[in-house]
Each structure stands twice: as C-alpha cells, then as structure tokens.
C-alpha cells in the first residue's frame, strides 16, 4: 500500500521551451521524449497566473513555510527580461502572505547580462549555470547549433555573477560528467570560478540505453568522481560539491541535497509552457511521453497531481525500491540513484540504477575515507571551554581566557545574524525595494571593510546592542516569511531597522579610515543619525522632517558627510574616532547639528563605554536615561573608578571576567527614592544597565550582580543546561512571583555574587555597617542555597546543567545565618 501523498514544494517552471544551444547530451531535446516539439515557445500569461495561483493555494492548504520555484527551460533567459519580470512578479504577488518563495533560475548562461542580474537582484533570484569544466570539456557537448563554442560566453556570465554586486545571486555550477574529460582539469576549472556549490550530474542513461563505458570497466564514472573526491578532500573541501556533500550527509544519517541520492520522497512537479503538469524532467530519457500526467494548471489542483501514481512512486522511500536495492548496504545513501536511471523497457523502474556499480564504489570509497573527513575539520576543542574554565564559571567566577571564548562565540553569532538579515532582507519580497537596495549597498560597504580591516568591523560588531538590533530585524523578517501581511507601520519600522545596517557599515568604515565608493543610507531616529560605537549626530532646524527619515552618509576616508534632504553636515573621520565632541561644518539650509560622542569611563586600565546614544540600548527592564550632562558623566567616572577599585581589591575572583567582558555601562532613568535599579539584557552581551546609585560601593555590587547574568547568558547560548521544554514555574525565594527555570537559574547564579559581596562586606567593615552586611549575607545566601536545591530537584537540568548546579552548590558554602531585608536589586 502506498504512503499518503507528500505535499509538493518544488516547482520547475518551463518558462521557455527552446534553447539557444544545441548540446548533444541534452535530455530535453535529444532523449526519447519529444513532447517539446508540440509546446508553445513561451509561457502565456494565463498559464503563469494559473500556475502561481495553484502553487499559492497548495502552499496555503498544506501550511508550507516555503516553496522553491526553479525557472527552467529550454533556456529560460530566452523569455527575455520583461517576460521574466512578469513571471517573477506574478509568483511573488500570489505567494505574498502565504509562504516564503525561494526563487531560482537555471541557465546555460550565454545570455546572462547586467540587465538580467539587476532583475534577479531586485527579486533575490539565485542563479545556477551549466558548465562542464574547462574549454575542452565544455566544448565537447555544449555548443551552438553551428558548432561554435559557448565557453567564453558562459565564463563571462559566471564572472559577472562573481562580482561583488551580484555575488549573492551566484548559486553554483552544474557539470555533466563525461569520462572522456580529465577529472582534475574539470575540477580545477570549476573551482577557479569560486562557485558556492558544484553538482556533478551523471549523464542520463537507462538499461535500454546504458552510459558509454570502456568494455570491462563497470565503474568508470565512480573512478572519475573518486579522483575529484580525493583531490577535494586534500584541498580541505574548498567548495560545496552536492554529490559528495549528500553522500557524507547520508552516511552520517542526514538528508541528501539532491534527488539523485538518498531515500527522501520527491516533492517536485514540472509545469510546461502550455500549463501541463509533468513529472520530473529526467524521465524524458526513458520513453516518449514518460513524464506526462494528463493534468494541467487550468483544470487540476496540485493535490490531484500529488496523488498521481508516477509522483507517488518516487515518495515510497525504501519500500519503493527493488529487492536488490532494499538489501544493499549503501541504500540509505544511494536511494536507488536517480529514478530515470532505473528504467528498462518492459519492466519499468523496478531495477537498480544503471549506475549501480558506480554508486556502490563511490559511496564505499567515501565511507572508507570518512575518518579523514572528520579529522580534517578545523579543530574546535581548543576554542571550547575547558573543564576547568567551565567549572570556574559555574562557581560564579570566570577567567579572562574563558570570557574571551564566550566573546568569540558571541562575535560569530553576530556575524551569522548579519548575514541572515542581509540574506532574508534582500530575498523577502515584502521588504520594500528601496530598503532592499539600501541593504545591498550597506552590505557591500561592510564586506569591503571586512576584507581589508576585519578588526574595524569586529570592533563595531562587538557592540552589545548590535545583537539587540539584529534580533529585532530577524523577528520582523521571520514574521514576513511566515506570511503575516505587511502594513504601513510594519514597513516603516522594518525600513528603519534594516537601514541601520548602513549605520553599522558607516561606523566600521570610519573606524578603518576607509573610503566608501557608494553613498550609504542610514535611518534618522529621534532626530539623530547614529554611528554605533562612535556616537550620534543630533540634528535640529533646517528642512521640515517627516516622521520616518533617511540620511545619506558619504565617507571619503578623511571626511564624513551626512545629508538629510537639503541639509548637509561634515565632520572628519579622525574627530569621530577621537571620542570627543567635534566641529560640525554645516552646508545647505542651515539646520544645526551637534556630534555627541560615546564617552568612555576609565579605571586602572579598564575602559568601558558610557552608552547613552545607541538607539537600541533601551532593551533592559528599566527605561534608558537621556543623554547625560557633562557633570553627570564626571560623577559616573568617579563612582566607576571607585567601584572598580573595590572589585579588584575585595572581589579578585570576579574581577578578571568583568575586566575582560564588560564593555558598556548604560545609564538608566532615576528609580524611586531608596531603590537601586540595574539590569542585564539577554541579547546584549557585555552591557550592564544601571541607574547611578547612591555610592560607588553599591555600584560595585550592581556591576557584580548584573555581570553574572551577562556571563550566564553567553554560557546558555553555547550549552544546554536545562530542558527548554520545561514550562513549569518555580518558586524563587527572593521574588513574590513564580519564575521559569531559566529565570530561576539566572537569579541563583547572580545571587552567588551578591552573597559573596555581602559576606566580604561583613568582613571588611565594622560596627553597624558590618552588622547590616552580615544580615544581608545571611538573607541572600540562604535564598541562594534554597534556589540551588530547587534547581537540582527540578528534574529538568541536563547532565551538564547538573554539573553546573553542583559547582554553584559548592561555591555557596559555607553557610551564614539570620534573615535580613533585601538590597533592592532586580534579579
């Protein structure tokens, strides 16, 4: 009995049924199926609109989060940019608010020019190109009808895709294997073009029409691929090769990335230029009419197609294979090979692949070399926390080296988030086109600086509130991807947030002293242009400003000019880097502006930004303070210097981690009288928010307390200490409300330091002050111990989490005595 139909989520649109090349190995024109002869050249409007609607209704019906559409042919670029725009627009329009659209085009490349690339960049269409290797290999088959080579045009197309402007569209290269070609020459030629991914395709063949081989050599295709695999491995796998990556993945129990391997069900359907639904293209190699379903977009929903026996046959996994394959030891990697390659007239597809011997040899070879694959991965152990470092952190402390490792992980996460924002932001159709264009410009500027001065980019990315911004962007993009309809307010907020990537790029370029060729668009937030880590330009007067504004930043290496409408201000890059107030030269309508640098607190070699400018800093549990006056800054400086002296002198076990990881103090609004306010934020590693307390000693306590949260947040990013599925609430002795497990863990870890603080204060003070400290120690210490036991008994700590709790338990000894009132800090 067949398994139920799998929803279809991959659609190959034959947007043009003819090709401008006459490759003699093409399965569309040179194979058994000749149905192309009766198709329209291009896809008519009504076919496009029906296709888009069919896909949208199918995606909605099955709640698909994403579909992939491949524009294919023939040669899809023969449709022309105008026609392609109509098709792409129609698809986006139909799927907007339904699901994510992953749109690709597969082309021979000979017509790919800047006009095409601009179109694809506008809509985030990824481009795959067919190229069989070097000139000799490519010209063996891939020629024009008059015999002329296509090689130069194809390489020119790939070169265009490799330019900085279009690099993000470059999906990879498809190479059809010909064992007459030298595998090393082919590999080197393809590698030289820096493709993100290469796929080697076995030429289509069946048991009726087997592949060309030297008599007596049954696995020549495996030999050819193995030669490349070994070289690729020796080169430390410099590019993705889909065939090899899929085998490595399936050998490890993962998925295949190609229908040619693995047991995953096929979820693909082809839509021809006349609106006919067809099964997978490669069936054209079997017999005339093989791909036909008898269904079309005008009369049939995709659910009907999904139940077609031919589609179902490729969704049966192991059960759908012949007995020989089912008993084969490599079947989970091979999956029986490409469906079409199993065909024999008279008995159909119930056979092993005609490439069975090749697949077996290749997979076994890769299996034998698997240990080397694993050992050749870059070692990570020395970047992970050692047992001692982990234990030291769990005890509440942490060395500078341990903090450096946590910071590096944060840094990589931020870079990954930036790439994700760029990728999702530029490929999500609901993001307005001007915002996507601005994202491209910002990304170009940022990556250029990263290439030459990665330290300058790193300095900006290390800013704690960058991750806060990144998460805010990702949340909005995720909402769009899941189909939530956009509204004007959403668009405005998203535009402002995404444009902040320009501010990040500008700040990095200023830090590097670089010139940026193109202008960068940045948001104007609350009448200020922000350059993260450096400060903000506060503007007033001049041209009337709408609520949502953009500024344009030009950076020539020495000077930075910022334009808003007709107003323009200029500063020197050196002044911006100085951290001091600087002269602002005004041009245009005379709107005034002042530069507010981020000021720095200093104490015995420690430098911490007093961050009262960043637009994303207001993410703590208490409102951020407005820009501080100079007198207030002076007071912060005095308190900070004294607080740090206290921490270094009396809490030496806590000082190294704070010195290594505390980068920002964020002033918060004044609390009610008699209360101290401080907070860390889960996504702001290195930052502590606090209102200035009554004295430096209290500031030391607040810093110690909050930095515990900072450390634990970074640890939790890397290690699973508790079961995230635990949704119980737990009693936290210091709070009236019940807390989730992570909240209890955070509070307990923070109060380890608070207990230590009061224990030490009891020892170093006398009289009434010592008595109060003793009472507070007893209070916090008792609560901390109780909370540790609650964590230990929760049943939801992982083994590593239990180890963490055990170290906290040891650190919390010895005990004190006597209840006392709380110290008022958040926790």
């Amino acid at each position: 009995m067949d398994k139920p139909a799998v929803p279809l989520d991959q659609f190959v649109l034959k947007v043009h049924s003819r090709c401008d090349l006459a490759c003699d190995h093409c399965y569309v024109y040179e194979s058994a199926d000749q149905s192309w002869r009766d198709r329209p050249l291009g896809m008519p409007d009504e076919v496009i609109s029906h296709t888009a609607q069919r896909i949208a209704e199918h995606a909605a019906e099955h709640r698909l989060s994403a579909v992939q559409v491949v524009l294919h042919g023939g040669e899809p670029l023969l449709a022309g940019p105008g026609r392609l725009r109509s098709i792409i627009t129609e698809l986006h329009s139909a799927l907007r608010g339904v699901c994510h659209l992953d749109l690709r085009i597969h082309t021979n490349g000979v017509r790919l020019d800047r006009t095409c690339c601009e179109l694809f960049a506008e809509f985030g269409v990824k481009v795959g190109i067919s190229l069989d290797g070097d000139r000799v290999a490519n010209d063996r088959h891939r020629r024009y009808a008059n015999g002329r080579s296509s090689y130069d045009q194809v390489v020119a197309a790939v070169t265009l895709l490799r330019t900085r402007q279009y690099r993000h569209l470059y999906a990879g290269l498809l190479c059809t294997v010909d064992i007459a070609n030298d595998p090393m020459v082919v590999y080197e030629a393809l590698r030289a073009l820096e493709p993100p991914r290469v796929d080697f395709l076995l030429p289509h063949a069946t048991w009726d029409d087997p592949p060309a081989r030297t008599p007596g050599r049954e696995s020549q295709y495996a030999d050819w691929l193995i030669a490349i695999f070994d070289r690729w491995l020796a080169d430390e796998r410099p590019i993705g090769i889909r065939t090899f990556d899929s085998i490595l993945s399936t050998l490890a129990g993962g998925d295949s990335a190609t229908e040619a391997l693995g047991l995953a069900p096929s979820s693909l359907v082809v839509i021809e230029t006349d609106g006919s639904y067809e099964q997978v293209d490669s069936l054209k190699a079997t017999f005339d009419g093989a791909p036909a379903t008898g269904f079309d977009v005008f009369r049939h929903a995709l659910d009907v197609v999904a139940r077609h026996p031919g589609i179902l046959a490729r969704q049966q996994g192991l059960a759908g294979l012949c007995q020989t394959c089912q008993e084969c030891p490599v079947v989970s990697s091979c999956g029986g090979g490409l469906y079409a390659h199993r065909y024999r007239s008279g008995s159909g597809f119930g056979h092993p692949s005609v490439y069975c011997a090749d697949l077996l040899d290749l997979i076994n070879h890769i299996k034998r070399r698997l240990p080397e694959v694993n050992t050749e991965r870059r070692p990570v152990a020395n970047r992970d926390l050692s047992d001692d470092e982990f234990g030291d952190l769990a005890a509440g402390y942490g060395s500078a080296a341990a903090i450096a490792k946590l910071m590096e992980a944060q840094h990589i996460l931020c870079r990954a988030a930036l790439a994700a924002i760029y990728q999702a932001g530029t490929s999500t159709p609901a993001v307005p086109a001007p915002v996507r264009a601005a994202l491209h410009s910002a990304w170009s500027a940022l990556t250029m600086t990263d290439r030459g001065r990665p330290d300058a980019v790193d300095a900006v990315l290390a800013h704690p509130y960058l991750r806060v911004w990144a998460v805010r962007c990702l949340e909005q993009l995720k909402g769009m991807g899941s189909g939530d309809p956009a509204d004007p307010a959403t668009d405005t907020r998203l535009a402002g947030d995404l444009n902040h990537l320009g501010a990040i790029a500008a700040a990095a370029a200023v830090c590097a002293g670089y010139q940026v060729e193109a202008d960068i668009t940045v948001p104007v937030l609350a009448d200020a242009v922000h350059l993260p880590t450096l400060g903000r330009l506060v503007v007033s007067g001049g041209s009337p400003r709408p609520e949502c504004q953009e500024a344009v930043v030009s950076i020539d290496g020495k000077a930075v000019s910022i334009r808003i409408a007709d107003d323009c201000w200029e500063m020197t890059s050196a002044d911006l880097r100085s951290g001091e107030p600087c002269a602002v030269t005004t041009f245009g309508d005379g709107g005034s502006a002042s530069w507010q640098p981020v000021r720095v607190l200093k104490a015995n070699g420690l430098r911490v930004a007093l961050e009262d400018t960043d637009p994303y800093r207001d993410c703590h549990q208490w409102p951020a303070a407005a820009r501080l006056a100079e007198a207030e800054v002076a007071q912060w400086q005095r308190y900070f210097q004294d607080a740090w002296r206290e921490i270094e002198r009396h809490f030496p076990a806590y000082a190294p981690a704070i010195a290594a990881g505390l980068t920002v103090l964020m002033p918060m609004s004044a609390p009610p009288p008699g209360r101290d306010i401080s907070a860390a934020a889960r996504h702001a590693f290195g930052a502590i928010g606090t209102a200035l307390p009554a004295d430096a000693t209290t500031l030391a306590l607040l810093i110690m307390h909050e930095f515990q949260h900072v450390k634990l947040g970074a640890i939790l990013d890397l290690y699973g200490l508790y079961d995230p599925a635990d949704h119980w609430l737990y009693h936290a002795p210091w709070r009236a409300d019940m807390r989730p497990l992570e909240g209890l863990l955070q509070g307990t870890y923070a109060h380890l330091a608070v207990s230590e603080y009061w224990r030490t204060r009891q020892q170093i003070t006398v009289g009434q002050e010592a008595q109060v400290a003793g009472e507070r120690f007893a209070f916090w210490h008792g609560h901390t111990q109780d909370a540790i036991e609650t964590l230990a008994g929760s049943g939801s700590m992982t083994p590593l989490g239990m180890r963490f709790v055990q170290r906290m338990r040891l650190s919390a000894q010895p005990t004190g005595a006597g209840p006392a009132p709380g110290n008022g800090t958040a926790g």
Partner: protein
Amino acid sequence: MISTEIRPTLSSLLAGLRDVPLDEMPAVDGAILDGAVACLLPEFSVAPVPVAAFQSAI
C-alpha cells in the same frame, strides 16, 4: 549520572562559521547559518529551502 564531559550545543556549528569573511557568509550552508541564528531567534530560517532538490538545477 552526571556527565564528566562538556558537550557544546553550538560549538560545532560555530566552527563552520569561524574565520569566514562576511561576504562569504551568505554562501555558507544554510543549515549551519540557520543553526547559529536559531540561537538568537528559534526557528528562524534564512532560506527554508526544501531538500531533495531538483537535479537539473542548483
């Protein structure tokens, strides 16, 4: 039974992103990028592309 080993949840993913220049990040395997970003925002997918991809495209 408490484990005596530190088993990082994210480190192997981060290893795949370490030392990768920013402009090459988008070309990194989507699963790796998604895994890292999921640490910041669970279930975010950079490019939730269906698997078992069409062979005559890439």
